[in-house]
Symmetry: C2
Subunit: 356 residues, 2 copies
């Protein structure tokens, strides 16, 4: 009774050709929309195709044309609003140009990233957008370039790799946020990131294998230095990977003999965790401690107080990355560029003014 009894060999051009009583080549010309065919034969073929419910096998098409019409995207974590917004931007750019998107999650793990890249290359994607988990391990990306597959890095740049990158202007963003805090009278500022905190014996900066975070920390540090504040790295903390760890990080920061009066959260997930940590400690924002988060996530505008944020135009970043990649796919010779999308500070209510 099931029509799935016959595993239903798909209808091919040859089938259509036979039904329309023309050669396979002719049917293919009509169906593929290339070459020249008379109007009469065209109609015959189209009618036959409709009757048989012909659907072209894109796989076979890709095989002979060498183009798959797919762009591969490797992100850290789709569940993160940052990436889902970016993916949306990429998808929109792709759709506009007739490309499709295949997404792989790396979970910010190098091994997963490598295998995802390998797999996408295997699928013969026309191009690749990658958020590199680490900026210090580039073999697999080097291989992408050697394979001749267009590559655009997203959110994080790797100067040693000759590949386009689309990032936010992280250094500048951190500077603007930090200067703002200093301008509001803060003198002890902390920077909190979710980066894995593993490297033993390395300085904080050396441990940051993620260019976006590093640039921000550098901007943060340079602003503190510029303001003549001592020991700028003292309050830079990594490892806010989940709520539990964040609680620990925050508790330790605030039990310092001279605790920071303001916290800068490296992304909206960290920001949310910090917010919850502070709340569970019974601390009031901004009276007890001020904070600024990156990314205009949903939650930041509905808290009390609403959170002052660094607005990263992530959708635009994604769209730009998509467009750049497609440009590279369609007309190859382009100079390698690092595109920076500017950010802006959105002042809301989470920063107190400290009077001396």
């Amino acid at each position: 009774m099931e029509d799935s009894a016959h595993p239903k060999r798909a209808v091919t051009v040859a089938d259509v050709a036979k039904a329309a009583k023309v050669s396979k080549a002719t049917a293919a010309r009509v169906l593929g929309g290339y070459g020249v065919v008379s109007a009469k034969i065209t109609d015959q073929v189209i009618a036959a195709a409709a009757a048989l419910e012909y659907r072209p096998n894109e796989l076979a098409r890709s095989m002979s044309t060498g183009r798959s019409g797919i762009i591969g995207v490797v992100v850290g974590d789709i569940e993160n609003a940052f990436f889902s917004l970016a993916v949306r931007g990429i998808s929109d750019a792709a759709r506009l140009a007739g490309f499709n998107v295949i997404i792989a999650n790396s979970g910010e793990e190098l091994a997963a990233e490598k295998s995802a890249v390998d797999l996408l290359i295997g699928k013969r994607v026309d191009g690749l957008i990658v958020t590199p988990a680490r900026c210090d391990s580039i073999d697999h990306l080097q291989h992408v370039r050697r394979a001749g597959v267009p590559l655009v890095l997203f959110d994080r740049a790797i100067p040693e790799l000759e590949a386009d990158a689309v990032t936010g202007d992280d250094r500048d963003a951190a500077i603007v946020a930090t200067r703002y805090l200093i301008g509001q009278g803060h003198r002890r500022l902390a920077y909190v990131s979710a980066m894995d905190d593993e490297g033993g014996g390395l300085t904080v900066l050396e441990r940051i294998s993620n260019s976006a975070v590093r640039e921000r920390v550098e901007g943060f540090v340079s602003s503190l230095t510029e303001a003549g504040l001592p020991n700028p790295l003292h309050y830079v903390r990594l490892g806010a990977t989940d709520q539990h760890h964040t609680d620990g990080v925050i508790k330790r920061l605030l039990s310092d003999s001279a605790p920071p009066t303001a916290l800068l959260a490296s992304d909206s997930l960290v920001g949310l965790r910090i917010f919850k940590s502070l709340r569970s400690l019974g601390l009031s924002i901004p009276n007890d401690v001020s904070m600024i988060s990156f990314l205009d996530a949903d939650w930041t505008s509905v808290t009390v107080p609403p959170i002052t944020i660094v607005n990263q135009r992530v959708y635009e970043m994604g769209k730009l990355a998509g467009e750049r990649l497609i440009a590279r796919i369609e007309r190859a010779p382009l100079a390698v560029e690092h595109l920076r999308v500017s950010t802006s500070l959105v002042v809301r209510g989470s920063v107190a003014t400290i009077s001396r």
Copy 2:
């Protein structure tokens, strides 16, 4: 200077075979991991493959095996936390079984959904997970079935279509939430959804072409009826598609001669918009009006008051859908089932108790 000068014809089994001085068939056996090959030759081939940096062309592989190892997912909007969580669940299930995921956005538009489905079928995905934008237009999905491609519907069921569906237990969820509100003394309850409000001359229920929303509204209505409350559809409103429209919907609801005392938001995006609407109207939750939202979105736990929600286990739903699809792909004969993932009410602070 550029190595991209040579468009770098990819390395094939034939190349590896030549380098290893064996036949193409033998090299393919080693590289494809099938058949029998002596240890010595195996080593030769592997060495040659490594030297040439051979990467199999999955496209060609899929062509001959008939399996692509890809499952296609068509969602309404990846930017929506509901879908990105679901996609995460699907991806995890897929990865575990060695499948990859290709994602397409329908923007909840039927035309986009159709073309996405067609395209994925063209790519010869091994199976399809679709969130149907409308439950009353099923030609394209019927075609998926006729093409013999396994299909699982997500979030919304279509009984007329013989296809598996994974949804939340929407009816029950609405009943639990509604009864809770009634139990807290509320007598005038509103239900607000983001569904497009287009159909002229139809009753509200007829206009809801989305089974999840319809089930919820039905549950909502039946609970009101059960409690003996009059005119249960009076406060059911569609069209909260963006902030502006939501502001309008809320304003109109609350200027009713007998305004509702509690609002039920159909999803977390609507919930957030309602929250903002109420705030901009200067109304206090829950003193002036109570609300419950679907989905445990980030923002719901950090507002003041935190929002009472219906917890949909979306990740589990996604994972279940993925697993179900894969089961169907790998061992076809399975009865069609509608799997419901139970939900639960998480009571927080957005519902007031009304004493009479």
